[in-house]
Symmetry: C2
Amino acid sequence: MQLTDLETPALLLDRTRLDRNLARMHEHLTQLGVTLRPHVKTAKSMDVVRRALAGQPGGITVSTLKEAEHFFSNRVTDILYAVAIAPNKLDHVADLRARGADITVILDSVAGADALAAKGESLATEFPALIEIDCDGHRSGVKPGDSALVDIGARLHDRRGARLKGVMTHAGDSYNCRSVDAIRAMAERERTAVVRCAGDLARAGLPCEVVSVGSTPTATYAECMDGVTEVRAGVYMFFDLVMAGIGVCTLDDIALSVLTSVIGHQPDRNWVLTDSGWMALSRDRGTAKQPVDQGYGVVCDLGGRPIEDLIVVDTSQEHGIIAKRNGGSVDCSRFPIGTLLRILPNHACATAAQHMQYHVIAGESHVEAVWPRFSGW
Amino acid sequence: MQLTDLETPALLLDRTRLDRNLARMHEHLTQLGVTLRPHVKTAKSMDVVRRALAGQPGGITVSTLKEAEHFFSNRVTDILYAVAIAPNKLDHVADLRARGADITVILDSVAGADALAAKGESLATEFPALIEIDCDGHRSGVKPGDSALVDIGARLHDRRGARLKGVMTHAGDSYNCRSVDAIRAMAERERTAVVRCAGDLARAGLPCEVVSVGSTPTATYAECMDGVTEVRAGVYMFFDLVMAGIGVCTLDDIALSVLTSVIGHQPDRNWVLTDSGWMALSRDRGTAKQPVDQGYGVVCDLGGRPIEDLIVVDTSQEHGIIAKRNGGSVDCSRFPIGTLLRILPNHACATAAQHMQYHVIAGESHVEAVWPRFSGW
């Protein structure tokens, strides 16, 4: 099958770039002496994750129990569910555990620990848990130095329904860094936050077998992983314009794109209309706050080469409007109706989520496979 | 099943509100003497669309050929595919037509008309088509008064591979109106644009059986449909915060919400953390440019009543951050871990698209049905 045989919009995955991105991350983390627990929330595809797990211990990170179910059905058993556990999900977690999935949950409060332990006791099971640490004020977690850490740890350790496995953090604020130096500093802040907390637990006589960090920017540029037992990352597999905008990759590393057809023109406005709107590209505008705003995505030719200054400036549900980044004239006759273009996404997780499969390409035009992916909860 | 039995996040559809919204639109259009061709791009569910078709002629509007396939498999045959047709979709359209689906396509250029007719001739079939009219400079279409209209019409009429059925327009810019008067004026502009173009075709001796308009704001407030044969609208079934923000509905009309669990707190920041991030709510920030910015959605209690000034101020993939609209203190103890909340969406089309089913509620807590929906192309 060729790209020209596909109905548009269609999600393309460049396997050559994927493999290169995976190899680069593996090599970097191997040099730092730490293993990778890939976050599957970006790919949601066993075909992709199987490649990401090559040479790694085999554990994954998930953001939904549907991901846990899917990858467990594909014989992945070591699963970290990295969103603070809601009580209404515990029966499901217990059921997965009873079927053989070794799922660990996370939480960041005494109340959460009590609820977990109580549920474990009522089900006569034991939920392994990590304590989430807030390394950067970005979202959730216990702040390093907060006495709640040991309170939570003691509850998880002491009660029969739970088991304290360790600590984890996510430097989500690394997405707002503007230089490699800033990302390096964030990586060190991420590491020291969990290593300090692991020490606090140890000093309190509590176990801390797992010390887990992760974000694609910090994993890419970290220079030291002393005291860390594993790294979580997901978007590094595909990369995207947000990552390119903070210097974590180049446009040539972005493995994901949306194949798009030209369906019309408004020459007086220098607009080229396409059939890829926000449903195909996602509503993500993650580059809006970056120095270079990429609109809803960078426009490339069929071979994946960016076309000078053309971006998707606006979208509706199934329409995209392509124009020059800073206005300026577009020769619409270069893009006759039916022209195929490829759009690089702002945010790989969001764009991939809009599609049901990857059309896998290796060269410029041949589709060598179709890999299913899934969505929902 | 009760709401408290669901795993979160889960998409809820209030059937009472849905039925009221459907009845109101039907009544209004009946008074104006025009029929409704519901746009199924919002609901993507036969269970919803069956209700929307009650008392109407039975035709639908689609935004993807997957919608066409799905509803045709549910015995809907009169289908308008309302995105300018891309050449790579014509084999699929021809195949649907050969199987009995009466699909009409749209286009807005001479080149598009030529491509359509040539393909029809090569397949020994005839593609019915409407000419898209640009009534508001919002996106695509031929401007009223542009001589291209008759050129396109003549090609569709004269060539064997195509058939000219009429004209259509979409007042997309009505989403940017800020008053009911402005919407009424936009509705009249939408109507006069297509009626004028229908007249131009007739004066050129060309047929124009269909004169189609549509957007939820203009359909809601239009006062005259003279010369119009049908109205298209979709979001009126569910409504959303964008529609409420321009005065097309109230918060009490919004039939869609996302059931959400509290998973943590950051009391020093007055944040309540939930398990509904942009994956569950969508990345749509359609209220950002409105007088009242609703963040990623308005927070309601389990009964669907908005909680004073609480909105989702930020999201990551599977996390939402609830806070006061204008900062200010939140008593986190009111929302213990496990508390169930409901989030009203900015944009029903975008939020529904993130989910695989509707959990249908009629009262405050009972789930009376699960209606499947679909995504993709």
